[in-house]
């Protein structure tokens, strides 16, 4: 293969005729530096000289035809070049594409709002469908898919247990640590027990598992079901008469409903343990005293307040994952987007519902 020479195209005027001269290599690699300046020969009698043409490929032919549109119609064109020009020329024929019109701002805003409202409607419909399917499977427990349920419980629940325990342990420890400074200056070090007890039982013991499950399980559910949709598995199920809600959604929702209370209890224990370790090490509150004060000063209703939130959050997390998994259409990009939306919506709903619960319990004075 010879050394590459730069492509060159120009019109040689002389003896009353214009000759189009094409020299050098015309390949996808060599034409990069060419400008888009179109040559127009001054004379109508027109011939071409391809004598010094090096290598040429279809991208090069495109460049020649763009720069000199009538190069293909010159008389003394070698046969292989004529074929190439004919092929490339026909491919270039209808290249002009009308530009995409972006609708004006108010139209796009309207579309966004409309879609957001539809999203709420879709979520409500999905919740309704889920309730019907749940009731049905409670009425016919034999139809419940126990293996799917057990596998979901294992993956979403037990596999997450160590992580949740470690996270809440440190949260409990940090709460005790930060609270201890303030309480020391007030001379009420023993109040650290109430601080840790109430915050862990009411909030952290529930929120931390919920947030972890939103990241862990909502995304898994969305990705699993979404991949099944992309693989046409859901269509196969529909054709076989398998109810998608029965087979895919109900086991996952039930799994979280069953396992999340357990996760919350473990989280609460771990959080209290974290608080206990810090108060023992820094505030010299003995474990025995910590336990005694916990049972005396921290009312059991805080535990129940925390646990009351658990089933609601479990359903919301499972719902977000399953719903977005089922609405995956087509490509990988959509799958990724849906998984993200599932996690974001689950997290958003958790925080929002927690705030709503806080207000509710405040009003009810629990």
């Amino acid at each position: 293969m010879n050394a590459r020479t730069a492509p060159n195209i120009f019109v040689r005027e002389g003896d009353g005729i214009s000759t189009l001269v094409v020299e050098g290599d015309w390949t996808a690699i060599s034409i990069a530096g060419l400008s888009g300046h179109v040559l127009s020969p001054s004379n109508l009698s027109f011939s071409s000289d391809f004598g010094n043409l090096g290598r040429i490929d279809s991208a090069g032919a495109l460049a020649i035809l763009t720069l000199a549109p009538n190069a293909a119609f010159t008389a003394d064109l070698p046969a292989n070049l004529a074929d190439l020009f004919a092929l490339v020329g026909s491919a270039m024929a209808d290249r002009d594409v009308p530009p995409i019109k972006t609708p004006p701002f108010h139209v796009r805003l309207g579309q966004k709002v409309y879609r957001a409202v539809q999203e709420i409607g879709a979520s409500a419909r999905f919740l309704g469908q889920l309730e019907v399917a749940l009731m049905k499977s409670l009425a016919h427990p034999k139809r419940m898919r126990l293996i799917a349920l057990a596998s979901s419980i294992q993956k979403a629940g037990f596999d997450a247990l160590p992580l949740i325990a470690i996270m809440t342990f440190f949260i409990g420890a940090v709460v005790a640590l930060i609270g201890s400074d303030l309480l020391k200056t007030l001379g009420a070090s023993e109040l650290v027990v109430e601080l840790v007890g109430i915050s862990v039982l009411r909030e952290f013991g529930v929120l931390i598992p919920a947030i972890l499950l939103a990241g862990r399980s909502a995304s898994t559910f969305a990705a699993q079901i979404g991949a099944m949709r992309m693989n046409q598995e859901t269509q196969a199920m529909k054709v076989m008469g398998i109810d998608l809600f029965d087979a895919l959604v109900v086991p996952r929702v039930l799994a979280l409903l069953v396992i999340m209370p357990l996760l919350a209890i473990v989280a609460m224990l771990a959080g209290l343990a974290g608080g206990l370790v810090v108060s023992w090490g820094i505030l010299d509150v003995s474990p025995t005293y910590f336990a005694e004060r916990l049972s005396a000063a921290v009312d059991i209703r805080h535990f129940w307040v925390g646990m009351a939130k658990v089933p609601v959050l479990a359903i919301v997390i499972a719902l977000a994952g399953c719903r977005h998994g089922l609405s995956v259409r087509g490509d990988v990009e959509d799958l990724g987007g849906r998984v993200t939306v599932a996690v974001v919506q689950a997290l958003f709903a958790i925080i929002l519902l927690d705030a709503a619960f806080a207000i509710l319990f405040n009003v009810l004075e629990i």
């Binding site: 390949t27 996808a28 690699i29 034409i31 990069a32 530096g33 060419l34 888009g36 490929d57 279809s58 991208a59 495109l62 460049a63 763009t66 292989n80 074929d83 190439l84 092929l87 490339v88 026909s90 491919a91 270039m92 024929a93 209808d94 290249r95 002009d96 594409v97 995409i100 259409r329 087509g330 490509d331 990988v332 990009e333 959509d334």
Partner: protein, 255 residues
């Protein structure tokens, strides 16, 4: 070994195995410049494995493979031959996050310094080359039909004007008319651009209409490489079953 520039691919004594399962043994193949070579074989006979081995995606356990007189080994330099090879995978393997036009532009951006306005012009020309409208360039791969996806995949494979084009079942899943058009497209491209084409296929129509030679993969090796007309006279049982039944049925229909 003789370095014949007209031999684009040379496979010698190839052995491929997955664990204890031997796919190929003592497989030999030569592909000549400018020809369209059909590769046929029963399901699971290792046609796609052979293609992937030649492409260097699967490491052979024994034997040598040369493309453009360069040995494909564990430490060969892909970049030297990458832009001389185009591949169309069975399901298109289009990048689903990129539009059709961006899919075709991807190898151009990667391997050339081509930038606007040439980039778009070249990409749209390639899309036109495979018989698609320029509007298709805006669509996403998920919006395309199976036949269009195959065409786009060929457009992307052709982006760098490769000398060697691999096609994995290019006409499977296409209706006979679209398949015939596709065959004609490959023939035209091969004749005009001087392409060497290696085509894994089950489609007798494509084999009869455009292949110069056909390689038959059976019994873990290539049992025969010859023009399809000569293949009809073969007495290998698989070839006779493959060609015999269908060729006769076609004759019956035409009567």
């Amino acid at each position: 070994m003789i370095c014949d520039p007209d031999i684009v691919i040379r496979v010698e004594n190839l052995k491929t195995r997955f664990g204890d399962h031997i796919i190929h043994q003592d497989l030999n193949l030569e592909v000549h410049r400018g020809e369209i070579l059909g590769v046929v074989g029963g399901s699971g006979s290792g046609k796609s494995v052979l293609m992937n081995t030649i492409l260097g995606l699967i490491a052979p356990s024994h034997g040598t493979i040369e493309i453009f007189q360069k040995k494909i080994g564990s430490r060969f330099d892909r970049t030297e031959i990458n832009h001389r090879i185009g591949v169309m995978f069975q399901n298109g393997a289009l990048f689903s996050s990129l539009s059709v036009q961006e899919n075709v532009e991807a190898p151009l951006i990667e391997h050339t310094r081509l930038r606007e306005p040439w980039l778009e012009a070249v990409a749209l020309m390639k899309i036109g080359l495979v018989g698609l409208d320029a509007e298709v360039g805006r669509q996403m791969p998920a919006e395309l039909s199976g036949g269009m996806r195959k065409r786009v995949s060929v457009a992307r494979a052709l982006a760098l004007d490769p000398e060697l084009l691999f096609l994995d079942e290019p006409t499977s899943g296409l209706d006979p008319i679209a398949a015939a058009e596709f065959d004609q497209l490959i023939r035209t491209l091969s004749d005009t651009l001087g392409l060497t084409v290696v085509m894994v296929t089950h489609d007798l129509d494509s084999l009869y209409s455009i292949s110069d030679r056909v390689a038959v993969v059976a019994d873990q090796k290539i049992v025969e490489v010859s023009p399809i007309a000569e293949l009809e006279r073969s007495d290998h049982p698989w070839i006779r079953a493959f060609l015999g039944g269908r060729a006769e049925r076609a004759k019956e229909r035409n009567r």
